[in-house]
């Protein structure tokens, strides 16, 4: 068994890479490997956007991540600065800027980059998508 931290820096919709990350993650879990943390950074934070709406015949990666996280109790960490810059905010962020709406919610967690260092050091391998 190998333990992994996944670093996802590619966008949810505009590139194939995030979906490849999802497939890698599913396959690793099915084979009994451990995923310590999935860290969304740079354009990868768009995976956490709750407001992404897709046609019924399209893949909704956001929902796939959510289901996988629930099934395997995964940590979906999202870099707070990278997310906020791209208009992805938590309920707490929304209160701070005095707005009603927010689009970053559980099982995604808004965290600092330090979380990436911590999980990366605990894992056998880091894989970036």
């Amino acid at each position: 068994m190998t333990s992994f931290t996944l670093l996802i820096t590619s966008p949810a919709f505009d590139s194939q890479s995030s979906h490849t990350a999802y497939e890698f993650c599913s396959a690793a879990l099915k084979l009994g490997h451990k995923i310590d943390s999935i860290f969304f950074y740079h354009q990868g934070v768009t995976n956490s956007n709750n407001f992404s709406v897709h046609h019924s015949d399209e893949v909704n990666l956001h929902q796939l991540w959510k289901s996988l996280a629930t099934e395997y109790e995964l940590r979906l960490n999202v870099c707070v600065s990278a997310a906020n810059r791209r208009g992805i905010i938590t309920e707490q962020d929304a209160e701070e800027i005095d707005t009603t709406y927010y689009n970053l919610d559980k099982p995604f967690e808004s965290v600092g980059l330090g979380e990436l260092m911590t999980s990366m050091n605990a894992s056998d391998r880091l894989v970036q998508f």
Binding site: R85, G112, L113
Partner: protein, 119 residues
């Protein structure tokens, strides 16, 4: 192999957010006491140019950010010699003390790290 991080930059300083968020990550890694090396390949070598004036484009001057890396204990900066030559850039034009490496030496240097990230 102890945990050490290689951050590989391949993107030009402006026109995308790759450089900005790569440098953010390097600073945080330094703050967390990680053993870190930062590499510059291809158009990313333009990030290191001392004389850059991007303020007119409404963005931060990245050479100032790179110069501040030392305060975050990020001291190992390596640059691809071939990329510099291809763009006619001299070591004296760079904003920090960087080590120029040949392709073979870059490969050997990067392989010493257990964590590799690319921006």
């Amino acid at each position: 192999m102890s945990n050490s991080i290689a951050i590989i930059n391949r993107s030009a300083p402006y026109g995308s957010s790759h450089a900005t968020e790569s440098l953010d990550l390097a600073m945080i890694a330094g703050t967390f006491g990680q053993d870190i090396s930062v590499y510059f390949f291809g158009d990313a070598v333009f990030q290191l140019i001392e004389q850059q004036k991007p303020q007119t484009k409404g963005v931060k001057n990245l050479s100032k950010v790179i110069k501040s890396l030392i305060f975050f204990d990020v001291e190992n900066i390596y640059v691809c010699q071939k990329s510099m030559q291809e763009r006619s850039i001299q070591l004296s034009e760079l904003c920090v003390d960087a080590t120029l490496l040949s392709n073979d030496d870059l490969k050997a240097s990067i392989n010493k790290h257990s964590r590799i990230m690319v921006f």
